[in-house]
Symmetry: D3
Subunit: 141 residues, 6 copies
């Protein structure tokens, strides 16, 4: 598969139900530098995504294995920053808030609109959150 | 395991029944840049290939997990090109021809014998195929 | 630098004059898995892009070295396919046409509009080109 | 997750019961160069290590799959070298000694104390072993 | 060179004057998965570090090229956090403070002593900094 | 460029004068997982190898930079082992023998002919060398 296609296939897999898709550089026989595509999906989407991999890429085979996923319970909040509201995703482990992560797309938009470094947008968004996640966190340990 | 050995072990695993072997660059504890060897095989070959990994490399352990494989039904055709016949592998999904891929070894031989770029050999071989794979493919969608 | 930012920085570097940008996975001291950003640009854009790297990422230093670039002379053609025209880039070495590569964005658009595999769009576009690039090529060898 | 943290998390996972931890460079959607952390552990440690991954990194999910492990039976010996004793790990397959690998920490200490290349310490340690591992090995083939 | 040695050599190069050292996974001829070591140093340390690479690794050759480095002017501050002081490195571009990065070793120590996630230590340290880096930054744009 | 071609191009570059060729996995814009080919050669071979890269791969440009190379002076010896003679390459730094590395092709041949692990062939070859390289080495430090 040519590199041009990896990005396209990744996008298309997401658009058709993949929970996650990532690429790993690998080395195959006869000196071939290649790319392994890993797709995570619910069983309902499996056949559709296998067909997509077989149709869109040059591969003649797809390997399947089952896995389970442990996820943080999550919700979203609006954080008020000097540039307006930015959404952040919060993760809870056994009912305790353990992380708050600003949404990339919001940070990107704000960084572009205000001509500031995206890193600063992240940091300022984290700074604007109260109360502290660590205080909550410590309280439950 | 020294890098010199990775190529050798890969070849030997294929020669003793591996369906596929590939190398992934990984980073281990204490700053070690290493290489993970992944081997795919039928259950019948498992013990033999595990022994080979344990014997040929410096590892003290091999991790096993089961996977299934979805494969395209495949056959081979001769394609007539300006440089003579080249074999190509064809893949069928649910009875429909969805891809025709020129065989690397044939393209390599032709490229060397005729002093032409291997990329041109691929393209010309694809061009020489009729009827179009996409026509078949569209017809079944 | 968090992974979220690599894609953003890459886009922004292209938008501000980079000729090419690519990421290489590297391993640093103390077990840090990191990403090296390589930027190619004309000297005129150098200071602007250095400032961007220093501002947008967590790095405290940028390494500079000079390189020259050998490029194929290039032009573009419209190729008529069953799905309408697709643009292709052609490359010339010492006046000889040596490659014709369909444009990714056009192939992507056609694949999406017609619900066909992008791989088929590439192949069909290559098939629709006449006269053969290899004939031209062989003639000059 | 920033690269700074990968080394820290790896160390901490080992300290809390991981049998093995390694990092794989991967490429995610939207141009993100990222790092996959793979942890191998006994089922008893699973929940603790999952919690650690969720708490210490920015991830919102951990993927689980089961694997078995084939290991060489192992013991340790002291090898006398010109720089004093160095420990080596020996591996047995079906009762036959098949490899003897000098311990890294011992080789490192000796190399530093004696100001010799670590590569020489390895080689000399291998040379000091008798009888030959290959003689044993050949005898059982 | 065996992977065991990469971490050792990296440490030793830093200890003898390297400004930076990093490892890149590469693929060589004959299927060899290998690791490229890149060392950055001032000219004064060049010969010593070349000798170290030739002595400590299995390589028979070292490639040299010159590069310049653009660096942020930097200083250090103590940041007061709920867990005590943490040092941070500040970077200045043309006299303007553009980034403040908590020191990894300090964050690691605090995380271990207080049994909190290192990610929280980073975030809290960033939160404790005033005035905002972005305010300074915006003012000069 | 498809992965099939990387191995072929690497071989061909070596056959036409490259001193070294290696592949590095990289990540380009638009989610493309790609492979960078690095070629080292004397100036005399430069134009020929650039033409080969432009002709054999899909690239439209090649980047050039100059580098020097520090090499160990080297010679070869025959080492007598239980399986017959094996050639080894020896490296000298400032007149001192600092390393002796068994030749891969010889070790591979011996391993295959005698059905022994290639790792054992390396180790036994190193064991068969006298006098010790480290003794020579230590004597000059």
């Amino acid at each position: 598969m040519s590199p041009e296609i990896t990005g396209y296939v990744m996008e298309k897999l997401f658009a058709h139900g993949a929970l996650d898709v990532f690429l790993t550089p690998i080395f195959m026989k006869k000196g071939r530098a290649a790319t392994k595509i890993t797709v995570l999906c619910h069983a309902d989407y499996r056949d559709r995504l296998i067909e997509m991999l077989l149709t869109e890429t040059t591969t003649f085979g797809v390997r399947l294995s089952s896995a389970t996923r442990v996820k943080l319970r999550r919700d979203f909040i609006q954080i008020e920053t000097q540039w307006g509201p930015i959404q952040a995703k919060r993760g809870y482990l056994n009912g305790t808030l353990i992380k708050t992560v600003p949404e990339y797309e919001d940070c990107k938009r704000v960084a572009e609109e205000n001509n500031v470094p995206i890193r600063d947008v992240y940091v300022e968004t984290l700074r604007a959150i109260t109360p502290l996640t660590t205080q909550n966190h410590s309280a439950h340990r």
